[in-house]
């Protein structure tokens, strides 16, 4: 059973008593000083804020998050609802009562301290003592590790295949294997997944086979997408994994819609949607969080903050403290997690799922990580970032190695297991590619089906014309696409 320690809640720092009331106070609403000793030393009483962010840190009990303020306070004598217990006037604007203050105070644009990042394993795969987490069984851990290695190997080999000209495009998840697999492991098959495009690991976990991955990348007859989308745009209804659509962040409001549907059906499931740091600049991100909060929809928003949106670094993408702080702006409970730490990701997603379903609320998880690979095969990231930065993250901060160390420390894994796994996986994947390469492409008729439920007359006409053209110029028509 998870033990949630009382980490410090969101208590703002108290102000320096010597400051005049008109000083601009760099008050951080989101920092984490140790509150207990301060509370006793101050003669003032807290002024309540309207924000609460309890459960993320404290399980089910809530704490109010207080701001200290030096003012002369009089004891409360009456219960006039227009005044609070300290005779500060309350005002009834639309949206609820707010307290007045005569101090002109601007909320700082950035907190003194950034939101802390939840992690369980250190860089060497050792569990940090005193950490709270959801324990993983040996079986589950080995399965997670297996899939992480599969994903890593698959990425390497498919990337090479693209370079060799065998597939037209590929996009790796290098460095993000923990986010992919660990989050998937914490979900149930009924949970609907709306991916961006860097989450094939979730599909892998759910049972998509290497053959199916290869079929989609080659766009052959075995592809359940019928060869219509570009490689890595996987989609599988039976795995509850919505088809990848290239435009960024379009899946976020769709996720809210899917959650709305689950809520109407009162299903014991939630929706999980993934996106990168760049997607948080899109309008859809903001509206989706807002909608999810207003509608109390059971969605988990998982942001893979990997530092780069093609060539745009996060410092050029936003000026906030990452993505996690935005949750509160929309009334969404949020957490920041070390995305390269399998156990942290697993625990956070599992807890988030519980909250989303039982409390009907959205949760935002910012998983910090690094995009080790290039954006895609159409990108060369050495053009805009340092090669040693990439190397550092590839080797020293590799999430697969880190988790590997943990399972090794537990006595569940050895070097022999490792080399055997990698060797076999490589063989399997190469084989899948070789097979998929030879499979026929989908039929010509599939160019025109599924545009509508039944092809209308104009499409039938267009198909007829196309077939006529092919008959007239057969030498111009590709040989591996059956007519």
């Amino acid at each position: 059973m998870a033990v949630w320690l009382s980490r410090s809640g969101n208590v703002a720092r108290h102000l320096n008593g010597k400051m005049g009331s008109l000083g601009i106070l760099n008050r951080s609403l989101l920092s984490h000083p140790e509150p207990t000793h301060q509370r006793n030393s101050l003669p003032t009483s807290p002024i309540e804020q309207s924000y609460r962010n309890p459960a993320a840190f404290l399980g089910n009990s809530g704490t109010l998050f207080a701001v200290r303020h030096f003012e002369s306070i009089q004891a409360e004598t009456h219960h006039d609802s227009r005044y609070d217990e300290h005779e500060n006037q309350l005002l009834d604007f639309p949206g609820g009562k707010v307290k007045f203050t005569s101090d002109m105070i601007f909320i700082s644009e950035s907190p003194d301290k950034r939101i802390k990042c939840y992690r369980v394993l250190d860089d060497n795969g050792r569990q940090i003592p005193g950490s709270s987490f959801q324990p993983l069984s040996k079986e589950l851990s080995l399965r997670i590790y297996n899939d992480m290695v599969t994903l890593q190997t698959m990425d390497t080999i498919f990337y090479e295949a693209q370079r060799q000209g065998r597939i037209s495009f590929y996009l790796t998840s290098n460095g993000e294997e923990a986010i992919n697999i660990a989050s998937a492991a914490a979900l149930a098959i009924d949970d609907i997944v709306l991916p961006q495009y860097r989450e094939p690991g979730v599909l892998l976990w759910r049972g998509f086979t290497l053959k199916e991955f290869a079929d989609q990348c080659f766009g052959n007859k075995g592809d359940c997408g019928k060869g219509r989308q570009m490689p890595i745009h996987y989609g599988s209804r039976k795995h509850n994994y919505f088809t990848v659509s290239s435009p960024i962040a379009t899946q976020l409001p769709q996720a809210v819609g899917a959650a709305y549907s689950l809520k109407m059906d009162k299903k014991d499931a939630c929706v999980v949607t993934y996106f990168g740091d760049g997607a948080t600049s899109e309008g859809d991100f903001h509206a989706a969080l807002n909608f999810a909060a207003v509608m109390e929809a059971p969605v988990i928003f998982i942001c893979r903050n990997n530092g780069w949106a093609i060539s745009t670094s996060t410092s050029e993408q936003f000026r906030s403290d990452g993505v996690v702080v935005r949750g509160q702006a929309y009334g969404v409970r949020s957490i920041r997690v070390d995305g390269n730490d399998v156990i942290a990701v697993y625990s956070a997603v599992q807890r988030a799922r519980e909250m989303a379903i039982s409390e009907h609320r959205p949760i935002l998880i910012e998983a910090l990580t690094y995009r080790v690979g290039h954006h895609s095969t159409s990108d060369d990231s050495t053009k805009y970032r340092a090669v040693d930065e990439i190397e550092h993250w590839r080797s020293a901060r590799d999430p697969v190695t880190r988790f590997g160390k943990w399972i090794e420390l537990n006595g569940w894994w050895s070097n022999e297991n490792e080399s055997e796994l990698r060797r076999n996986m490589r063989k399997k994947i190469l084989h899948a590619i070789q097979v998929a390469e030879k499979v026929e492409k989908p039929l010509l008729a599939d160019l025109f089906t599924d545009v509508y439920d039944h092809p209308p007359s104009n499409l039938l006409e267009q198909e007829r014309l196309l077939r006529e053209t092919i008959k007239r110029h057969p030498q111009d028509y590709p040989p591996d696409v059956p007519v």
Binding site: R237, S261, F291, T449, H454
Partner: protein, 409 residues
């Protein structure tokens, strides 16, 4: 003040859709809807029974889902003279009736949009529905069109049948990304695994001094998107029928309503009926010229038709209703008969429905034309606010009369 019609012509013209009229039903003479324009709205004089273009399962394309109701056709045909069958209502009420019937029939149907819930919708199409079905099924959304359209796409992929209301069609420009990239495409790109049976509806067109941004004709912009269907309603009868058909369709459908037509009154049948999404409506059969139109322009055309009849012309007026795909069957039969085509639309000249229709007719029926296709559209200008100027950006009956006269010389 009904236009004079040739009863027999009605039958023969409709023989093209003879699949749809059950045997043994005597078609009544077809009367058009006279329209008298008043300040702030339209009123329809008297009520007219209509031939019920009931489509049965033997529709032209396999699998089109339309309710066949032979009894209804017979009943309303019989009640032409008596005017006792059916009930009178305004167009927005007809839309609501259709919506409500479908929500009763299928619990997966839901509505989302701005102010559709307890407020009842800006044009009252969803009035009373939130109370009846709860505010989860009639959902008020925050103001983010791209996002609630996206939400509807996600909900549809998960099994619901959402209806998205755009407060004004113009706002759907903000939803273009979701409509084009996802709504129209996801059924195809997912290999048929996920379907998007959504309906996107809302008022568009030039109103009374609503300003340029609220007087747009979105059908021009959406017509290219593959995977969607577009229909435009113009009478309470077809509004209800098209609404029901759109909701039952497995494809994403955009239903274009017109701001100025919501208060049109008509008597519609009590029995349930569903129209076909791909069919045009024969408003007034004729011999001399085919006038193709839709939505509000139908009324300008019918007004011009009165004048034309007095001048001795016999125009055939077809409300094309289905903007994507065009009902080239009905249109073609008409062209083969009259050999002259006039298109009257509210879209702008460039890239409008008229432009596409002109191309389609020229391509398919060139041999049957005795004169070039003439298209009357709005000018390529943003709609001005000043009432007099606004009036001159919309095709007026006088222009239609002149065009027919020139065409039939």
């Amino acid at each position: 003040m009904a236009a004079i019609l040739k009863g027999i012509v009605a039958t023969s013209v409709l023989s093209s859709s003879s699949d749809f009229v059950p045997k043994g039903v005597q078609l009544p003479s077809l009367k058009s809807l006279p329209v008298s324009e008043r300040k702030g709205g339209f009123l329809v004089d008297g009520s007219d029974a209509k031939v019920v273009p009931v489509s049965n399962a033997r529709a032209r394309s396999a699998g089109r889902l339309v309710a066949a109701n032979a009894v209804a056709a017979e009943k309303s045909a019989a009640s032409t003279a008596s005017k006792t069958g059916g009930h009178e209502l305004l167009l927005f009420e007809a839309l609501r009736e259709g919506l409500e019937e479908e929500m009763d029939r299928d619990p997966r149907v839901c509505v989302m949009g701005e102010d559709v819930g307890h407020y009842g919708g800006s044009y009252k199409v969803t009035k009373g529905l939130a109370k009846k079905y709860g505010d989860l099924r009639v959902l008020d959304t925050p103001i983010a069109e791209n996002s609630f359209t996206g939400m509807a796409v996600g909900a549809a992929m998960t099994g619901l049948r959402p209806i998205v209301e755009g407060m004004n069609m113009g706002f759907l420009l903000l939803a273009f990304n979701q409509i084009s990239n996802n709504c129209g495409m996801l059924h195809y790109t997912s290999g048929g695994q996920f379907k998007i049976p959504i309906v996107i509806r809302g008022p568009g067109g030039v109103g009374r001094q609503l300003g340029a941004e609220h007087s747009q004709r979105l059908e021009s912009y959406f017509q290219s998107i593959p995977g969607i269907q577009m229909v435009a309603c113009s009478t309470p009868y077809n509004a209800k029928g098209l609404m029901k058909a759109a909701i039952r369709s497995e494809n994403p459908v955009i239903l274009f309503e017109h701001v100025l037509l919501y208060n049109l009154k008509e008597r519609i049948p009590d029995e349930e009926y569903v129209l076909s999404l791909e069919e045009a409506e024969m408003v007034r059969p004729g011999e001399h010229v085919t006038i193709l139109t839709y939505s509000r322009m139908r009324y300008h055309v019918m007004q011009a038709a009165k004048t034309l009849v007095n001048k001795g012309y016999d125009p055939e007026v077809i409300d094309i209703r289905s903007l994507k795909p065009f009902d080239l069957y009905t249109i073609g039969n008409s062209v083969k008969k009259t050999h002259r085509v006039l298109i009257v639309e509210e879209c702008m000249r460039t890239g409008g429905i008229g432009a596409s229709l002109t191309a389609a007719i020229n391509e398919n029926f060139h041999d049957y034309l005795d004169a070039p296709v003439v298209c009357l559209s709005s000018q390529d200008v943003p709609t001005p606010y000043a009432g007099t100027l606004e009036e001159w950006t919309v095709v007026q009956p006088a222009q239609i009369v002149t065009a027919v006269e020139q065409l039939c010389r």
